[in-house]
């Protein structure tokens, strides 16, 4: 994983899809590729109220990214200083091997430019001391960004709850 993570407080997410748009507007992406996605679950009846949940998915920035190993032109890289996995567009030959290699379907493709594209956590913004576009403009603050070790207790507690049958 990279040194950074984006975590999502599902209780606070309102499924407004704004993060998808914030990302695309910032990266000036054409029709097609979306670098983060919201998936809806439910509605499902829980104690008389139909509940919905929305899950935010972007790149996991794997410890040993298969997309990086698969790339023949060394366009797909893992940034040494913080582990962010990104595409250097100039080196990309458009072979799509990263798309096939990723078990999560993370890398996307820009047809017009014949290059792969993926979430780079807005590393240019991080380098300026800012946060990724999706997090910066999230309406409810359900998306938060930070160093891995600073993940809030609450989030850890929830993972533990999930892990306990």
């Amino acid at each position: 994983m990279s040194d950074y993570i984006i975590f999502q407080d599902v209780d606070r997410c309102i499924g407004c899809y704004s993060c998808e748009i914030h990302c695309k507007a910032n990266k000036k992406l054409p029709d097609g590729p979306r670098l983060c996605r919201i998936y809806q679950f439910g509605p499902k009846l829980v104690d008389k109220v139909p509940r919905m949940a929305f899950s935010f998915l972007a790149c996991f920035h794997c410890e040993k990214p298969w997309c990086v190993s698969a790339c023949p032109s060394k366009a797909m890289q893992k940034r040494p200083k913080d582990g962010i996995v990104y595409v250097e567009a100039e080196k990309c030959i458009g072979c799509k091997l990263c798309l096939y290699a990723c078990p999560w379907g993370v890398p996307q493709f820009i047809q017009e430019d014949c290059v792969a594209v993926k979430c780079d956590l807005c590393k240019d913004r991080i380098d300026q001391g800012l946060q990724p576009a999706c997090v910066t403009k999230c309406i409810t603050g359900c998306l938060q960004f930070g160093r891995r070790e600073l993940m809030p207790e609450e989030q850890v507690r929830r993972y533990e709850l999930l892990a306990t049958p």
Binding site: G15, C16, S18, K24, A25, P50, M52, T136, K137, T140
Partner: protein, 696 residues
């Protein structure tokens, strides 16, 4: 070269404050104003970049050639277009009198210019979209407090219990409100959500009631009955600040929660439990009186009874309740100067009858739909010209055919718009407005817990041959010999005029994008300081002005007949990614939500042999459309639902053209069908039939 500009979003009518980054003259980043929104913004807000740089919009003044709506346009210069409009308006004015022009808009804070222009012509006929939106709520509010719906702030920060009737705060998004709501919910605020279907908002509620369509009023009568019977109202507040409590108690006497259960489907036991909850939560309870309530013939009473519940809770002008919005004058400060104040008041009565034929309606914007009968009959005088200022009644109001038949009788339709709306396309002249990043606006004064002055500032140069409002109305006025009412040559001079005497200059807006004339919020004194504007100075549970106009303060409940099999009420609403009919052609928004579908109750769908994703045929009164079905148990069997704004017919909208279906076209006959007490269009008093479409 990089710069940062504070401005105001224009993607929907909420007008959130924004900060725009511009590099070498190109806008690269839009975020919520960090001083107000902590940078938060909705998807539409970010898609503002795509609106300016990618959407196809009017690129210069255009004159219609050929038939109305035929789409044959001739590009002309601004001089030619403005001369044409001024000449034609002048001749219509001379021949048919000063009232012969009417102007409609979408409402909002920046209306001094169009209102001044119309007033300068001598016409009283200013109107807006609100009869297809919040008029019932507004009139209900006026009938109780003498204050309108925008004169209240719902204080979610400290609220204990929020009650929403189809007010879908998390999908009909106002960024600040949605943030506040989620804060309040995580703090533990209770939320009761009442609707004919489940929404994202309802999915976050502590209680969800799926009610029979059109039965909100019955539900409220049952709740009021229980509140009074249990004695859980604020007796001291009622004694001090209201008139007519005993009459209210008498009116609701027959309407028990058990009766309400029969009408609404909400179990009486749950109504009793709810009343016990609000009894412990009050006065920090907000019953939201509704937003878009152009729904039924009794929506006015549904809203009025909701307002009454707030009064019974004593939740007026208390933290966590509804707080009276305050302007600069409430803090002893000077408000902005208006151009309109310098123009003599028109002497003619309004052509829509508001203020004389309909004395109980607010004459401010009147009622848009009543201009159509005036056009058709020539009564009380001829209407021959229409200025359609960033408004799209062919999308916002029902029955396109009936509207067009009336519009066809006009000699002139001038459309001022930054995009191709259905009505813009039906105009004779298009005067293209610059996009919201491309122009400065006048300063506007916003009421609130504390008042605020806001302004839209130009971030980029116009991409096309478009102009801002302050220039267009001034230029038209100049050509008609009315420029003395527009005493400025530049927007800087207009701002100076507006701010004169307030102690502020436009430079003061640079720091945060706004200025606050008063810094610390205050509440009126509930002992003797509530500033109500009714005749009695109190909250009129029984309203003399309403009764004088022939309407009861609370009507009896008219039970709804069961619907014939296979027929439904077509309920429409919003998705977080679209703003009514404004955004369907935006590439970023279109990608996320390209097409609307039709929600159908699962049991009903099974009876009709309709499965998820099937094509269904929906029809009403000779209008038919095909749409994909979405099957869900979480919609009332009497309702079908769709997202409004689709089914565009303007061919230059490449992405949106012909995609999805237009709910408003199904509501044939509803143009004349409005709530007689509140004025709002009764959009849902019209049934549709749905069946599985035949395979081709």
């Amino acid at each position: 070269m990089k710069k940062s500009v504070f401005s105001i979003c224009g993607m929907c009518t909420v007008r959130c404050p924004i900060r725009v980054e511009v590099e070498n003259g190109v806008a690269t980043w839009i975020e919520g104003n960090p001083h107000i929104l902590g940078r938060s913004l909705c998807g539409k807000g970010s898609a503002g970049l795509a609106f300016h740089y990618q959407e196809y919009r009017p690129q210069g003044p255009m004159l219609r050639q050929g038939l109305r709506g035929g789409g044959q346009w001739k590009r002309v210069t601004w001089d030619t277009a403005l001369d044409y409009v001024a000449d034609k308006l002048g001749r219509i004015l001379d021949r048919y009198g000063p009232g012969s022009t009417f102007l409609s808009c979408r409402g909002g804070p920046f209306l001094d210019l169009p209102k001044t222009f119309l007033k300068a012509l001598g016409s009283p006929n200013f109107t807006n979209h609100d009869a297809a939106c919040g008029r019932n709520v507004h009139h209900a509010s006026l009938s109780l407090y003498g204050l309108g719906r925008k004169d209240f702030i719902y204080d979610l920060k400290e609220c204990n219990h929020l009650v929403l009737y189809g007010r879908n705060m998390l999908e009909s998004l106002k960024v600040k409100e949605a943030k506040d709501l989620m804060e309040a919910l995580s703090r533990g605020m209770r939320m009761t959500y009442i609707d004919v279907r489940q929404t994202v908002t309802g999915s976050k509620a502590s209680r969800f009631w799926m009610v029979r369509p059109g039965s909100d009023y019955a539900l409220n009568l049952g709740i009021i009955h229980a509140v009074i019977k249990e004695g859980v109202y604020d007796a001291e507040f009622i004694r001090k600040w209201t008139t007519g409590f005993d009459d209210l108690a008498n009116i609701v006497q027959p309407y028990t929660p058990e009766w309400a259960e029969e009408q609404t489907g909400v179990p009486a036991a749950e109504i009793h439990e709810f009343v016990r909850e609000i009894a412990s939560d009050r006065p920090k309870v907000v019953f939201h009186p509704g937003w878009m309530l152009a729904r039924y013939r009794d929506s006015f009473y549904a809203s009025r009874s909701t307002h009454i519940l707030n009064v019974l809770m004593g939740s007026v002008e208390v933290p966590g309740g509804q707080i009276i919005a305050k302007g600069p004058k409430d803090y002893g400060k000077k408000d902005l100067n208006n151009l309109g104040d310098g123009v003599p008041k028109p002497t003619e009565k309004r052509a829509d009858g508001v203020g004389w034929k309909y004395p109980h309606f607010d004459a401010g914007p009147g009622l848009f739909q009543l201009f159509y009968p005036a056009i058709l009959t020539g009564q009380p005088y001829p209407i021959k010209a229409y200025v359609c200022y960033r408004h799209d009644p062919l999308t916002g109001f029902p029955d396109r055919e009936a509207q067009r038949a009336a519009l066809d009788r006009l000699d002139l339709i001038v459309a001022l718009d930054a995009k191709f709306g259905e009505t813009t396309w039906y105009g004779d002249v298009i005067l293209p407005l610059s996009g919201y990043l491309e122009k400065d606006s006048p300063i506007a004064s916003q009421k609130g817990k504390t008042p605020r002055f806001i302004v839209r500032r130009q971030a980029i140069e116009p991409l096309y041959d478009s102009k801002p409002e302050w220039w267009i109305f001034k230029e038209l006025a100049k050509r008609m010999g009315l420029d003395k009412y527009f005493p400025y040559e530049s927007v800087q001079e207009l701002w100076d005029f507006q701010l004169k005497g307030t102690g502020f200059s436009i430079a003061d807006f640079e720091e945060k994008g706004f200025v606050d004339p008063a810094d610390k919020a205050k509440l009126f004194d509930r002992e003797n300081g509530l500033k109500l504007k009714t005749g009695s100075g109190k909250i009129e549970l029984v309203s003399p002005s309403l009764e004088k106009a022939g309407f009861p303060s609370l009507d009896i409940y008219r039970e709804r007949e069961p619907l014939p099999a296979g027929t439904f009420r077509l309920v429409f609403g919003r998705h977080a990614i679209h703003a009514h009919g404004h955004t369907q052609d935006n590439p970023l928004l279109h990608e996320v939500f390209p097409e609307n579908n039709l929600w159908i109750n699962d049991r009903v769908a099974a009876d009709l042999g309709i499965a998820e994703g099937d094509k269904v045929e929906i029809s009403a009164n000779g209008v038919t459309a095909e749409v994909k079905a979405h099957i869900t148990p979480f919609i009332h069997p009497e309702a079908v639902f769709t997202v409004h704004g689709f089914g565009r017919t303007v061919p230059v909208l490449k992405r949106a053209f012909g995609v999805g279906f237009a709910d408003q076209r199904m509501a044939k006959g509803c143009l004349e069908r409005f709530d007689p007490a509140g004025g709002g269009i009764a959009y849902l008093e019209c049934l549709v039939t749905v069946r599985k479409a035949e395979e081709v």
